[in-house]
């Protein structure tokens, strides 16, 4: 009989550890061997000796981390390709979260665990879609693991944004968006909707947009907001990290419409508390229904919940007759959509 995944996959202070493989998945502190799902800072930390990830994730880590910190030894693996470490087979399969994001499929002596990393099920023009994989244990994120979260189709939110842009034609629209993933998806969605005017970027967003383009994601006419004069920004769309929309940086804009793109924008009082006038419910995480749907597709009898609102999800799993377990790994969830 195949060993239960809990005998060979264990939560440790550094993160989830694969005993027979001797590696951690998305460890939150520097370790000897790491397998990384995607480039967000809470999953990809600096200073590991050996890093295994997709070429895109490795490139993102190199752009974001100081020289030499993105893994002394980097090993890239293409989605679908199988790598063996000791007796463990490792395979990476797209998670649909951001460029290069993958789930990690581990097989050991006939037992299979899938670690989702962060994922979503809505289409995203900037990354490959999530693929459900049947397994014995599915380790899922639950950032939006409450039944109040149902993210509308992103194209509807883009339509609301464009309606506001034409209504307030003389005002800049300043959108707070996380630098890795959300920014590029927003731009790509705007281009899909036929918006081909220049889009202005806060300096912190420039490098990653360039990297996306290197990987073949076309983003159109992008310009630095930092050097543009006030008049040029009137009526334009300007993207900045969420922290910049309320600080000194935003003063270069003349009476901007403050917007933010995040799954948290679903909750009105939360949107309001962050000073947002135009909340856009666009998330790179799965909402409640998408989490449940994905769990069902994996056909896993046991679900481990890593970060987010785990209590509600575990209760729901119980109602569905599935085994749920909170891993309580510390240190995740600050990828710009954390509460």
């Amino acid at each position: 009989m195949a060993p239960h995944p809990s005998t060979w996959l264990q939560p440790r202070p550094e993160g989830l550890f694969c005993l027979p493989g001797g590696f951690f998945i998305d460890p939150t502190r520097a370790v000897e061997r790491a397998v990384i799902t995607h480039g967000h800072a809470d999953h990809a930390r600096p200073g590991h000796a050996h890093v295994l990830a997709t070429a895109e994730t490795l490139a993102i880590m190199r752009v974001r981390m100081p020289e030499g910190k993105a893994g002394a030894q980097q090993q890239n693996v293409a989605p679908g390709e199988t790598i063996r470490v000791n007796e463990v087979a490792i395979r990476l399969v797209p998670a649909g979260h951001v460029l290069g994001s993958c789930q990690i499929i581990l097989e050991y002596q006939g037992s299979r665990a899938v670690i989702s990393g962060d994922y979503k099920r809505q289409p995203d023009p900037t990354c490959a879609p999530f693929e459900p994989i049947k397994c014995d244990v599915f380790v899922t994120e639950a950032t939006f693991g409450l039944p109040i979260f149902h993210h509308p189709d992103a194209s509807l939110e883009i339509a609301r944004l464009l309606a506001s842009v034409s209504l307030f034609a003389h005002r800049a629209h300043l959108i707070g968006a996380y630098g890795l993933g959300k920014t590029q998806r927003l731009i790509a969605l705007l281009r899909q909707a036929g918006y081909d005017a220049p889009i202005f970027l806060h300096g912190a967003l420039v490098k990653l947009c360039a990297l996306y383009e290197e990987f073949g994601v076309a983003l159109g006419d992008l310009r630095p907001a930092t050097v543009a004069d006030k008049a040029a920004l009137r009526g334009a769309i300007v993207l900045a990290p969420p922290s910049a929309i309320s600080d000194r940086w935003a003063r270069r804009l003349d009476d901007p419409v403050i917007a933010a793109a995040s799954g948290w924008m679903m909750v009105r009082q939360r949107a309001k508390a962050s000073g947002v006038e135009l909340p856009l419910v666009i998330s790179d995480h799965a909402d409640w229904q998408a989490i449940l749907h994905s769990i069902a597709e994996t056909e896993a009898p046991e679900i481990w919940v890593t970060h987010g609102a785990e209590a509600a999800l575990i209760h729901q799993l119980d109602l569905l007759g599935l085994r749920g377990r909170a891993l309580r790994l510390i240190g995740y969830g600050d990828d710009g959509e954390a509460p």
Binding site: P147, I148, R268, Q269, A311, A312, H315
Partner: protein, 521 residues
């Protein structure tokens, strides 16, 4: 219903006062009668549907959603209406009825059928409309500032004076058809005289040192500033009302005062607990506030009376245009002729120089006195806060009226209560900035009131901390004010404690950062 929901949604996300006024004015200009009237009534908290209470909505949602999931969600969202709206499982099917039809259905449907009716409306609504519906039904739209803002929007949109609306407001009932007929020049202004209605009271400015230097003292009359609740007594042949200065009808809490209003006049005064001629501390008066029914025992333990200081109407005659001295003379004549029970006159304090008053103010530390009032002898009675006519000169400089901003659960026996409070004052651009925290200075009854209020008025939760809407004013006493770079306000209070709750004070009138900075030691 969707138009009203859209208005509420846009108001929520709009920060500027002028932008809000525009949204409201636009709504009142475009929407038909009686919808706009009911919208106004909802903002006024004037709609009451006895069959539709929050408990019914909770029971209704329990038929559709697992209770554990609901509680976890409610904990996260912090607002009942929004939680129900977000968690409601049905996909949008049709469109709910319009606002007027909803109001009429709620009024005519038998109580037992109301939940099912609300359920079908929620099925037919999108999230924003569900929130508006639930808040409409449970009375959750009454937000302190919004009614005044709505009246201002009406005044601007239809080019009338806001006071002209305030004067007739309490004589109107939803959906206010005569009001809109008058605003759109289809009918004359509704008569303010018939029912005893609220008149905007005249308010005082705090007297600062700079004002003190410029004052021509001979032009002013002095009175004690009583530490009670400002009230307006309105009695006409058609009825009697006791109003707080915020226009709340508090008649039901003080039946003995209503019984004593056996006259035809509108008077201004201070409601106090007075025992054997001695004014009791404010805390005694608080025992009588916010009670729907008053036991005889309670009335005897906390005997109230009104100390009169001004007159707005004598009989049907509006005397507000007369000078203060003239009104005072009339008030005294009227008082001695009428001899109303449970009322006396607030004495005038004779003085010759500024120095006389400074000495009086500093020694006046008896209970029931907050300081001095200075009133220009020649001033008419002007609703609002006209500059330079009335001054309030508080005795204790080391206290500030602060607004509750955040609350956190306490420890030990208070661990289930929100008992730790962060409070703030207003900046020049009308934002609240925190100036301190307090954990003491309230009674158990006040704590349980605050706890309930906080849960019902949370706008955001950050872990264990709840941010509340500005609605509770504390009078905070402290030993000294010091500069602090750690606080966003730039000021820190030493040993702050809650001196008392100020249920009579609108949050918008709490102290400013400027006033706090003036107290830096």
């Amino acid at each position: 219903m969707r138009a009203f929901a859209t208005l509420l949604e846009r108001l929520l996300y709009t920060t500027g006062r002028n932008a809000k006024l525009l949204l409201l004015a636009d709504y009142f200009a475009r929407r038909p009668d009686p919808e706009r009237g009911f919208a106004l009534a909802a903002m006024a908290g004037a709609l009451d549907f006895p069959g539709a209470k929050p408990a019914i909505l909770r029971a209704l949602v329990a038929t559709r959603v697992d209770p554990v999931l609901f509680e976890l969600s409610y904990d996260f969202v912090g607002d009942l209406a929004e939680t129900i709206a977000l968690i409601w499982p049905a996909p949008v099917q049709g469109a709910p009825p319009d606002l007027a039809a909803i109001v009429s259905a709620l009024r005519t449907t038998p109580k037992s059928e109301v939940p099912a009716l609300i359920g079908t409306w929620l099925d037919d609504s999108d999230v924003a409309t569900r929130i508006a519906l639930i808040k409409l039904i449970t009375g959750g739209l009454r937000v302190g500032a919004s009614l005044r803002l709505a009246k201002l929007a009406l005044a601007q949109q239809f080019s009338v004076d806001i006071d002209a609306i305030e004067e007739i407001w309490h004589g109107l009932t939803p959906p206010y058809q005569p009001l809109f007929d008058w605003l759109e020049r289809r009918a004359p202004r509704p008569e303010p005289g018939a029912t005893p209605m609220f008149r905007p009271p005249m308010l005082a400015h705090p007297l600062e040192l700079s004002d003190q230097a410029r004052l021509n003292w001979a032009e002013y009359r002095a009175e004690w500033k009583w530490d009670g609740i400002r009230v307006q007594l309105a009695a006409t042949p058609s009825g009697r009302r006791l109003y707080s200065r915020g226009a709340d009808d508090i008649s039901a809490s003080f039946p003995e005062i209503i019984a004593a209003m056996d006259f035809h006049a509108v008077l201004d005064g201070e409601l106090l607990v007075i025992r054997d001629g001695v004014v009791a501390p404010f805390a005694d008066l608080q025992q009588r506030l916010n009670r729907k029914t008053i036991a005889a025992r309670h009335r005897a333990a906390y005997p109230v009376a009104v100390r009169l200081y001004d007159m707005l109407f004598e009989g049907a005659e509006d005397v507000r245009a007369f000078a203060f001295d003239e009104r005072r003379a009339r008030l005294e004549r009227w008082y001695h002729a009428t001899k109303p029970a449970l009322m006396d006159l607030s004495p005038q304090i004779s003085f010759r120089t500024e120095a006389d008053l400074v000495a009086l103010r500093d020694t006046a530390r008896r209970d029931g006195i907050e300081g001095l009032m200075l009133k220009a002898g020649a001033s008419p009675y002007v609703g609002g806060r006209p500059k330079g006519l009335w001054w309030k000169w508080k005795r204790d400089p080391l206290s500030l009226d602060c607004v509750l901003m955040y609350a956190q659960r306490g420890h030990g026996k208070r661990s289930s209560f929100y008992s730790d409070y962060t409070f703030g004052v207003w900046t020049a651009d009308r934002r609240l900035v925190p100036v301190g925290k307090a954990y003491s200075g309230y009674t158990d009854a006040e704590l349980s009131f605050l706890d309930r209020w906080i849960r019902a008025h949370t706008v955001a939760s950050y872990g264990p901390v709840r941010e509340v809407e500005p609605g509770i004013v504390f009078e905070i006493g402290f030993d000294a004010a010091q500069r602090s770079s750690r606080h966003k306000s730039g000021i820190a209070l030493r040993f702050p404690r809650i001196l008392r709750l100020r249920p009579d004070k609108p949050a918008a009138e709490a102290d400013t950062l400027e006033a706090a900075l003036a107290l830096l030691g």
